[in-house]
């Protein structure tokens, strides 16, 4: 215990050092992200003063770009579990070495998801009303309270796992299985829960037929298992190509194999949804009609959703036909499907739920500049967390950030075992 009092602050201090030290590429990347983040923060500050009226949202379309990104980033966090399952359930050793990247992505994505809900609040100054006991937490009736519980739980679990693994490595010890494996297994179930609850948030509303479908939670999960692996493949490729960290190729290929399956299940679920909507017809199909074909001359989302359809189909084909020697093709497929899922689960899901309105009024929504700024600001913040997390992790794994033996006081071995 005594040694931790000395070594933990040292761990944090060294981590801070690593986080602010690097090549010119690193400095440029971080400076650009900081700049974008600040632009976003400034836009949000203006929104706080002038009110949500500064966004393009209205009483007809009362959720927009922010909630769209919220749904997507929750999915990204859940998608990271596609590294955890091969690593821990199937004991893939190569994956085991890089699984921390997935866990850091989970942390960064949850941070983004929480920010996206917060910037959507009219009164974030009253957020304390949500704290159990102090405020009035409408649990278990409101699905939003479930989301708060599962999202913060997932954040804590992943912070614990990454923090513990990095800290023990920093101390030059082998991590003890019982201090993290149970949490890893818990995180798998929990990952499913965060995205299920987020889907229930929408699918539980009887007044919005476009969302009120039992297929929503399965679709959310499958599309998360598309966007998550796609993002991680790209991140691994970037790390392999642009840094001096040596990563095995095995995990990349495992993720490609997963993606080859999930991308098709995702397309299948989209087809199921589209069939049921259009074959049945009637006024419940109005939202789907608006989304895919436009309604009475209103067609703001049509180009978006067809972009998603084309990107997803193209990515599926590319993934199916490419080999290990055509990684460039796989990289392109990952970018395409990531963007496609962002459209499909973001704007393509949230906005048509409101168009037409529950009284069948047709009021459209196109996000304005302020909303884009806030969105990119939050994404930049998330990418900063991700970059710094990976950087610290890679330094520790490469043995460059390690506690000197002299820094720790000698301690009887027995004390640690207990």
């Amino acid at each position: 215990m005594k040694t931790h009092i000395r070594s933990y602050p040292r761990f944090l201090w060294r981590a801070m050092g690593v986080a602010t030290d690097g090549s010119w590429v690193f400095y440029t990347w971080m400076t650009v992200l900081t700049a974008i983040f600040l632009v976003g923060a400034n836009a949000w500050a203006h929104q706080m003063v002038g009110g949500m009226g500064l966004t393009a949202m209205s009483d007809h379309v009362s959720w927009g770009l922010y909630i769209a990104n919220f749904a997507f980033t929750v999915g990204l966090a859940a998608g990271a579990v596609m590294m955890v399952i091969p690593a821990y359930v199937y004991d893939d050793h190569d994956m085991h070495d890089v699984v921390i990247i997935g866990e850091i992505l989970a942390v960064a994505s949850i941070a983004m998801a929480l920010l996206f809900v917060n910037v959507d609040l009219g009164r974030p100054d009253r957020i304390w009303h949500m704290t159990p006991f102090l405020g009035r937490f409408n649990w278990p009736i409101s699905m939003l309270t479930w989301d708060v519980v599962v999202l913060s739980g997932y954040l804590l679990i992943n912070l614990h796992i990454t923090g513990y693994l990095l800290y023990t490595r920093f101390r030059g010890e082998r991590p003890r299985r019982r201090w993290y494996v149970p949490f890893v297994l818990l995180s798998i179930v929990w990952a499913v829960s965060i995205h299920t609850v987020t889907a229930f948030l929408f699918s539980g509303l009887g007044g919005r037929p476009f969302w009120n479908t039992a297929l929503l939670a399965p679709r959310f999960l499958v599309s998360a298992f598309v966007s998550g692996p796609a993002f991680i493949i790209l991140a691994l490729q970037v790390i392999r190509r642009f840094t001096d960290v040596k990563l095995p190729f095995g995990p990349v290929w495992t993720l490609v194999k997963i993606l080859r399956v999930t991308v098709f299940i995702n397309l299948f679920l989209v087809v199921s949804e589209v069939f049921t909507e259009f074959y049945t017809g009637g006024s419940h199909t109005a939202s789907a009609n608006y989304l895919y074909f436009g309604l009475h001359g209103h067609d703001a989302l049509v180009p978006w959703i067809w972009t998603a359809v084309v990107f997803n189909t193209a990515a599926a084909g590319m993934l199916l036909l490419s080999s290990k020697r055509q990684m460039w093709l796989i990289d392109i497929a990952c970018v395409l499907t990531f963007v496609a899922v962002w459209i499909e689960k973001g704007m393509g899901l949230v906005v048509p739920g409101f168009v037409p309105s529950t009284l069948h009024e047709l009021v459209e929504y196109v996000p304005n500049e302020l909303e884009w700024r806030v969105m990119f600001g939050i994404w930049a913040f998330g990418m900063m967390i991700f970059t710094l997390g990976i950087k610290i992790a890679m330094e520790i794994f490469a043995g460059r950030m390690r506690m000197e033996p002299a820094e720790a006081e000698p301690e009887p071995a027995a004390a640690e075992v207990a």
């Binding site: 030290d21 959507d120 609040l121 009164r123 100054d125 949500m130 409101s142």
Partner: protein, 301 residues
């Protein structure tokens, strides 16, 4: 080497300072938002947890704030439900001519934002021969009634199984003993989940601070109904509880030139609303959703 390290540390320090300054600069507009907040308001408890003295203090503070911000002398009351009263509302679709006088009266009575011409009532003009809302419009113009249309005003249905109440994460909206669904404007966090949940588009959000000239402000106000709402919170029709709980009729009913509107106590066998429910062919909107509205429609012929 040492020289290089110290230069690098110096650069880091400069970078951090610059970053912090830029961050402070970016968030500077927030100070303006902070000025609108006061400590008492920020720490105010939930409506149901306020004692009588607490409530007294809150009401006086809100009156002062209205005076300060809008220049209007108002009286804000905390009107509680009357025992053994269950409110219900019915609307005669055969009589309604779509003049929107009800929406206008609501706008004035409930201190709605003048700039957006907000009201808790939307009037649909529906094609004769259908009850499908897909064949309706709200932005009709010109003379009413048109021969090929009938008109359906829609406001909060005060559902007994209200989706909006279920979804609220902080219990800022609830159903009162007399059946009226209310919002504590000082507790709402503005997530707009209730607005997404409502099948009748009955809820409104204060996208900006409401603008009302002092002389147009209705000074007879209640905490849970028509007091001027803060920016960033939800609002909705309360069947004018500041009037109806004192024995008056809702403003929309009084404004109706055709007598289409029937309001009263469902528990009173002699009331007009009871007679309508007993003798007319009555229906509720979107009955299949199981929301159990307190707002009924009927055709009179």
């Amino acid at each position: 080497m040492t020289d290089f390290v110290s230069r690098r540390t110096l650069m880091k320090g400069a970078g951090a300072t610059l970053g912090a300054a830029a961050f402070a600069r970016a968030l500077a507009p927030l100070t303006e938002f902070g000025e609108t907040l006061d400590m008492q308001g920020m720490l105010q408890k939930h409506y149901k947890e306020l004692s009588t003295e607490d409530m007294h203090g809150v009401l006086r503070r809100l009156e002062e704030k209205t005076k300060e911000e809008y220049g209007a002398e108002v009286f804000i009351d905390d009107v509680r439900p009357i025992p053994d009263v269950q409110f219900g509302y019915a609307l005669n679709l055969s009589a309604c001519i779509g003049c929107r006088k009800c929406a206008e009266a609501c706008h004035e009575e409930n201190n709605h934002d003048r700039a957006t011409n907000n009201s808790y009532i939307r009037v649909l003009a529906i094609d004769k021969g259908t009850v499908d809302l897909a064949f309706s419009e709200t932005d009709y113009d010109g003379f009413v009634p048109q021969k090929d249309k009938y008109y359906m005003p829609v406001q909060c249905h005060q559902c007994d199984n209200a989706p909006c109440v279920k979804v609220c994460p902080v219990e800022a909206t609830w159903k009162e003993a007399d059946g009226i669904v209310v919002v504590d404007y000082d507790w709402c966090i503005g997530c707009r989940y209730c607005e997404a949940a409502c099948p009748y588009h009955a809820r409104r959000f204060n996208w900006s601070k409401p603008e009302i000239p002092a002389e147009e402000i209705n000074p007879n106000q209640a905490y849970l109904s028509n007091r001027v709402r803060p920016q960033g919170v939800m609002e909705k029709c309360t069947f004018c509880l500041h009037r109806t709980r004192k024995g008056q009729m809702p403003a929309c009913l009084e404004a109706c030139p055709t007598g289409s509107r029937v309001f009263g106590n469902l528990l009173d066998p002699e009331s007009e609303i009871r007679q309508v429910l007993l003798n007319k062919r009555v229906f509720v909107l979107k009955e299949d959703l199981g929301t159990q509205p307190r707002f009924f429609y009927f055709f009179d012929e």
